[in-house]
């Protein structure tokens, strides 16, 4: 038989290696419909084992079905759907970290109550062997009454075939109806009215209704379900207390008690120091820790600038040559103009920055996969609390260096609303990769390529300075915002530190590929469309040819828009071309570069396409004869970009994440204000100090 529409759900604790397994099972058949971190709720992939094809659902990592953060709430919502009988998967793979079995099996015991075939994937079995932890899979399978227990190593791709076979087996099996765990009789009596309530109202199985009765007694509510009348609930909670089971801890107490009895003991002596612990003696050391972190950060940004320059030059030259080639292939005219100046020019201006973006994503993924990112969170928590943030704000803020959107999405792991909101509000101040093109263009063209202090390149340092400016401002503002936003809920910080692992290049590169591809396709589409519109605005209306092309762009629609806003931005040192760029880049920052590219290509008209940097350096004010772009203008423009609110997608996400227009609108206002005054201070201050 074929299992064409069988669905498998992957669930597990954070750090259990769930996503690595998902990648292995789906191979390259993964539907990349998700922007990493954006549709974290549901990553759907397809897989083919032999003749059977499966849909595989990857859900965020969670410790239990009682959600603390938004991230975990997604899992409980999905679970609620299944409990009601909608979209029930044919089988669940519960991915557990075999080195920390009991803790990981807690979620598994909650899943078992659904009555769906469950396969336990005992992941990281290689690490367990290393620590000489013996796990009796048969005993585990018997006592938990699951379909199968398969030891695997997602890293080493061990046990995957066996797992695939078990998946095929489990998917044709009937629903299991056996009871999952023993609860003391007095407890059962106390919660019986609750159990009956769920049975009557939702027609749940015995297993599930007991499970729900325990959970509702513990937490007072169940995601996606109504709660029994308060009188029934109060009565049950009172009864529980009298028999010595305070309701607040009922569920974990019962489940752990049961797990402690049935799970084969696989515990490391408490005094035994793990390798990660020894590594932490250096990496989270009082002095070395922060020092290593800062060094690493500086190194990454230096590398982004130096490594990327080779592929960037290649792309730059390549696109210019390609433009020339195309312009010689097709007869001169509107079409050739559009292709060379609009399309190829616009595409080139974006592709050129891909190397830097990929390198940044590469390093961020490396930090995350190695387990170091969690250490950054604990090292920074105290400092973060001081400015009103949370240790968990560090990762979103650092992701913000790549792109604010996945950064904002990943704030879902911060369990306090206020700290989450403040993180979101300041996150777009972290210089994202879309600013890199502007920084790189300005620095490459106008900051001298000198070495100072013997080692540091001036260009690289300027880049670091821009990132620093954004980051510092973000921290200062978060302090202000957290004083201003009031809340009652207390925040807490409990975080698992995953063991250090050497990241697998393959999975790191896959991340880089996925995100890079999304940058090119998603952002590329907007940029391409805007490039073409711009080319049109810059090329029309055509006036009589005797005046020549240079004249014509000065009369174009584009010039009109630019000139209209010029008076406002003149004090910042910007001319109408930059003004037009500011307007177009509200859609997305990187559009600035393609805007300039399009305008300059158009302006150069008949000449062979030249690189944008050259064109900008040569650009002179037609009246005064002075250069339009000076190092000071470049600096002012960069500062503007550090602060400005110029990404529609970001604000759309903020609207979604905060569920109101209030916050995105607020962000647009405060960021625009910062940008204008920041730039004003830089330019006017620079002029006063005698720079030009």
């Amino acid at each position: 038989m074929t299992n064409s529409n069988k669905m498998i759900a992957l669930l597990g604790n954070p750090n259990s290696g769930k996503t690595a397994l998902f990648n292995i099972l789906t191979g390259l058949n993964q539907k990349v419909s998700n922007y990493p971190g954006v549709t974290v709720e549901q990553i759907l992939g397809t897989a083919k084992f032999g003749e059977n094809s499966f849909k595989i659902l990857d859900l965020p990592g969670t410790y239990s079905l009682t959600p603390e953060s938004l991230d975990e709430a997604i899992v409980s919502q999905e679970f609620a759907k299944w409990a009601k009988g909608d979209d029930i998967p044919n089988c669940i793979i519960s991915v557990v970290d075999s080195t920390n079995l009991e803790r990981n099996l807690y979620l598994t015991t909650q899943l078992i109550d659904l009555g769906i075939p469950i396969i336990i994937a005992l992941n990281m079995i290689d690490l367990s062997r290393e620590k000489s932890l013996e796990i009796d899979c048969n005993q585990l399978k018997e006592s938990l009454n699951v379909s199968a227990v398969v030891p695997i190593s997602a890293r080493l791709k061990e046990g995957i075939e066996l797992l695939k076979n078990e998946i095929i087996n489990a998917c044709v099996r009937e629903k299991s109806t056996s009871k999952s765990f023993k609860i003391p009789d007095p407890v059962h009596t106390a919660i019986l009215p609750l159990q009956n309530w769920y049975k009557d109202h939702y027609q749940l199985s015995d297993l599930l209704s007991i499970s729900f009765a325990i959970r509702v007694a513990t937490t007072g509510r169940i995601e996606g379900f109504d709660s029994p009348d308060e009188s029934i609930l109060d009565r049950a909670q009172f009864d529980l207390k009298t028999i010595g089971f305070p309701h607040e801890t009922l569920e974990p107490k019962l489940r752990y008690h049961w797990l402690d009895q049935v799970v084969p003991k696989a515990e490391i002596p408490i005094r035994k120091k793990s390798k990660s612990e020894k590594t932490d003696r250096i990496l989270t050391h009082k002095w070395f820790g922060p020092l290593i972190f800062l060094t690493l950060l500086t190194f990454i940004f230096q590398v982004i600038f130096t490594w990327a320059s080779y592929p960037m030059n290649m792309i730059d030259n390549g696109m210019a040559q390609f433009g020339n080639w195309v312009s010689h292939q097709i007869p001169l005219g509107l079409l050739s103009d559009l292709l060379v100046e609009g399309v190829i020019g616009g595409a080139g201006a974006i592709l050129i920055f891909l190397p830097q973006i990929l390198i940044l994503i590469f390093f961020l993924t490396l930090l995350e996969d190695s387990g170091y990112m969690a250490r950054i969170a604990i090292m920074m928590d105290k400092a973060m609390t001081k400015v009103g943030l949370h240790g968990r704000s560090v990762l979103p803020l650092m992701s913000g260096y790549a792109c604010a959107i996945p950064g904002i999405m990943s704030t879902r792991t911060i369990d306090s609303w206020k700290e989450r909101l403040v993180t979101i509000l300041v996150l777009p101040l972290m210089s994202c990769s879309a600013r890199l093109p502007i920084y790189a263009l300005m620095i490459g063209a106008f900051i001298p390529n000198k070495t100072i202090f013997g080692y540091f390149g001036l260009q690289g340092l300027t880049m670091v300075l821009m990132y620093f400016l954004g980051t510092i401002t973000a921290l200062i503002l978060s302090y202000g915002f957290s004083k201003w936003i009031k809340t009652e809920k207390k925040s807490s910080f409990i975080m698992e530190l995953p063991p250090y692992r050497i990241p697998l290049m393959k999975s790191v590169l896959r991340q880089v590929y996925t995100r890079g591809k999304l940058f090119v396709t998603d952002a590329g589409k907007i940029i391409m469309a805007i490039s073409i519109v711009l080319w049109f605005l810059a090329s029309f209306p055509k006036i009589d040819s005797s005046l020549g092309e240079t004249q014509s762009i000065h009369n174009s629609y584009a010039a009109k828009i630019g000139h209209t806003i010029e008076p406002v931005i003149r004090p910042l040192g910007f001319d109408w071309k930059i003004g037009l760029g500011l307007v177009t880049s509200f859609a997305a920052r990187e559009v600035m570069v393609s805007t300039l590219a399009t305008i300059y290509n158009v302006e150069n008209g008949e000449e062979d396409a030249i690189s944008l940097m050259e064109a900008m350096k040569r650009d002179k004010d037609p009246i005064t004869g002075k250069s339009i772009f000076t190092p000071l203008v470049a600096l002012s423009l960069m500062v503007f970009y550090v602060f400005a609110a110029q990404c529609m997608a970001t604000f759309a996400i903020v609207k979604r994440e905060t569920n109101s227009w209030k916050w995105p609108v607020f962000m647009v206002f405060y960021m625009t204000g910062l940008a204008y005054f920041g730039s004003l201070i830089v330019y006017q201050g620079g002029l006063m100090l005698g720079f030009s």
Partner: protein
């Protein structure tokens, strides 16, 4: 004494989890429970988070949260 009082590499046994019910259930889900052994690994400077060993795993928590966990020394 509470968890914060443990010196690095000292081992304690959990006596009681205090705080609001949500906090306690989170602790229990992460593997904290009465009678469990717990070892202090390190403390971040300036009263930053502490890192402990429990049930084969390393967990970090703020001192404010950790002070809610009463323990007694294990010898």
């Amino acid at each position: 004494m509470n968890l914060v009082d443990l010196a690095p590499s000292q081992v304690g046994i959990i006596d009681e989890l205090n705080g609001d019910s949500q906090f306690i259930s989170r602790l229990m889900e992460m593997g904290f429970s009465k009678g469990r052994k717990i070892r202090m690994i390190y403390k971040m400077p300036f009263k930053g988070p502490i890192t402990i060993q429990i049930r084969n795993g390393m967990i970090s928590l703020r001192q404010l949260d950790a002070s809610q966990i009463s323990i007694s020394l294990d010898d």
